[in-house]
């Protein structure tokens, strides 16, 4: 038996995903309100690589546009997209369900409630309060959902139902708060729809530790998610403790999604669409699906953000609207194709 039939396919998939990300970054760097000369831009980027020295010929304004506006936004978008996609893929492994998203376990509703509280009640604390509250709210939402699921019984289905219940509860609270404070409606709404328009290098640096730790933990558990795919009983007779794997992966995915939500607001569909496309290209082993989702999710969101800031330029579309416009039809396509696989 050829024990490594996936390897060539895996390498091809890695190359495709990496090329997609590089292409997305290049396109996004070159497209925008300020016209940057493509060759000079590439030279300016290459100049930053250690031991490479290239005169780019970019003026100080162009350099500022490139390094202080466009690049931080691209890097942050890539981080957010990668985190959302890897968290979505992780949750799909935990729940053995390709339609689960990182938002379903209370994360999005918790973040929404956190951000709303910060905007409505904590506006005196300055702009930093919103991402911090969204981050905390997202994690708290998942924690409550996990505990509610754990006291209601074991197994992924119970946990998912608890997540749905907690999400509805938190959303109801958030809607009530918002309805009492209509003056903040616009600000909350624009946060809920997601945006990368205020991206800075410091935001990217702030979420980097959380992003790195959570991604590393999720990626290291790909093989255990593969084992869980044969069901809890059989996983247990293979020496695995399904509850422990689920807890670790859920915690890491919650951290990944919370870091993304803190800097970008709620961006839907990345976590469902990207892993699904990856599965079609590279098979279902989470050892491949997780890292490939990271790369492809990064590329996907960079492209989506490029659309968001250029389609109606100089106005911007909320990025959540762009991903939903792409994501909703894709969702229908997923439903159709999963049905055709099962029959």
């Amino acid at each position: 038996m050829n024990g490594t039939p996936r390897c060539p396919r895996g390498i091809v998939a890695y190359l495709v995903a990496a090329a997609f990300l590089v292409a997305a970054v290049l396109v996004s760097t070159l497209v925008g309100a300020a016209d940057l000369n493509p060759l000079s831009t590439v030279a300016a980027l290459a100049d930053r690589i250690p031991f490479v020295h290239l005169p780019s010929g970019l003026g100080p304004v162009d350099r500022a546009v490139l390094f202080q506006i466009r690049l931080p936004r691209i890097v942050l978008g890539a981080m957010v997209g990668g985190l959302l996609a890897v968290a979505g893929a992780g949750y799909q492994g935990v729940f053995r369900n390709p339609l689960v998203d990182s938002g379903m376990l209370g994360a999005s509703a918790g973040a929404g409630l956190g951000a709303t509280i910060a905007i409505v009640y904590l506006s005196g604390l300055g702009p930093a309060a919103v991402p911090a509250a969204a981050f905390a709210g997202s994690l708290a939402g998942v924690a409550v959902a996990y505990l509610a699921g754990a006291v209601s019984g074991s197994g992924p289905a119970t946990l998912l139902l608890a997540g749905v219940a907690v999400s509805m509860f938190l959303t109801a609270v958030q809607t009530y708060l918002l309805q009492r404070s209509a003056s903040d409606l616009e600000q909350v709404y624009s946060w809920l729809l997601g945006s990368l328009s205020g991206a800075t290098w410091s935001q990217a640096l702030e979420i980097l530790p959380y992003a790195a730790v959570s991604t590393a933990v999720v990626l290291l558990h790909g093989r255990w998610l593969d084992v869980l795919s044969v069901g809890d009983d059989e996983a247990r007779t293979l020496g695995v403790r399904p509850e422990r794997v689920r807890l670790i992966v859920i915690a890491a995915c919650a951290l990944a999604a919370a870091s993304a939500v803190a800097v970008s607001g709620l961006i839907g569909f990345v976590g469902i669409v990207v892993p699904h496309i990856v599965r079609r290209l590279a098979g279902i082993s989470y050892r491949l699906v997780l890292p490939l989702s990271l790369l492809a999710g990064a590329g996907f969101l960079v492209l989506a953000d490029t659309l968001a800031r250029t389609v109606l330029s100089p106005a911007e579309l909320p990025i959540g609207v762009v991903t939903a416009l792409v994501g909703s039809p894709a969702f229908v396509w997923i439903l159709r194709s999963t049905r055709s696989v099962r029959t």
């Binding site: 038996m1 050829n2 024990g3 490594t4 039939p5 996936r6 290291l220 093989r223 593969d226 084992v227 795919s229 044969v230 069901g231 009983d233 059989e234 247990r236 007779t237 293979l238 020496g239 695995v240 403790r241 599965r279 098979g283 279902i284 082993s285 050892r287 696989v341 099962r342």
Partner: protein, 262 residues
């Protein structure tokens, strides 16, 4: 030497007692078949031995209590094949068989060269190497059974627990699977503990039968002593004729009563 032994095993499910103090043992390289009507507790006994159910009493593996073993250590000694294993439809046969190496792989590592070699050995012993790259969803019923057995064999277990290994197979594939299992235990020193619903087949393949009835052992021993017309009539509420073939095997044949008023 006894490879697997249960002593005074009792299991409650949802506060309903399912097994009441069952004791039985299978010697190394032996095949012990659990028989009994639906709901007698056969699967429950198997799952308790697999470590999947809380229970009272003891499960001994090679003379040592299994309760003290970690999940990984237990998984290196016992492989369990449920009646309807979960087969992820898009997983390939090779990936699936390799899952059997899970108890040997370190927490953060991946399967190494020796794990792949062990999985390949298991696959070729069960003749599934030739379709290693096929998706599980594309396999026939007989192929599935062999693939699942290959995964169990990749665990390098001492004891193989099989829940109705012949369910939903035609008579030819039933014999094929049972012959394979028999060969594994004869050549590999595996001990087999299985439930089997066909009494004749159970008698032909297992060297001892345990007849469970309402969570208790009704009879145990060689087929000729366990399978009697009276006992089967009482336990199964079935009408059968039991005879002994010239080759010594015990054959149980259902007998149809004449219709009422006929």
């Amino acid at each position: 030497m006894t490879a697997v032994e249960v002593r005074d095993l009792a299991v409650d499910l949802d506060r309903m007692p399912i097994l009441h103090g069952v004791s039985c043992a299978a010697g190394s390289g032996g095949w012990l078949a659990l028989i009994g009507p639906n709901g007698a507790g056969k699967t429950t006994l198997l799952r308790a031995v697999a470590g999947l159910l809380p229970h009272r009493g003891e499960v001994l593996l090679g003379g040592d209590g299994a309760g003290a073993l970690s999940g990984r250590d237990r998984a290196r000694l016992i492989a369990y094949v449920p009646q309807e294993p979960v087969l992820p439809p898009d997983m390939t046969v090779a990936e699936y068989v390799l899952l059997g190496r899970t108890p040997y792989v370190s927490y953060l590592g991946g399967p190494g060269r020796s794990d792949r070699a062990a999985a390949e050995r298991a696959a070729s012993r069960l003749g599934v190497s030739v379709f290693a790259d096929r998706r599980l969803a594309s396999l026939s019923g007989g192929e599935r059974k062999r693939v699942v057995l290959a995964r169990a064999l990749a665990q390098d277990p001492r004891v193989l627990l099989l829940d109705e290994p012949t369910a939903s197979l035609d008579i030819g594939h039933q014999q094929q699977v049972l012959d394979l299992v028999d060969e594994l235990r004869r050549t590999g020193g595996l001990t087999v503990l299985s439930t089997l619903h066909d009494l004749t087949t159970a008698g032909q393949y297992a060297d001892a039968l345990v007849l469970l009835h309402q969570g208790r052992i009704e009879a145990a021993g060689p087929a000729a002593s366990v399978l009697t017309e009276d006992r089967i009539a009482r336990v199964y509420a079935a009408h059968v004729a039991v005879r002994t073939d010239p080759d010594g095997s015990t054959v149980v044949t259902p007998v149809r009563r004449p219709p009422d008023g006929g």
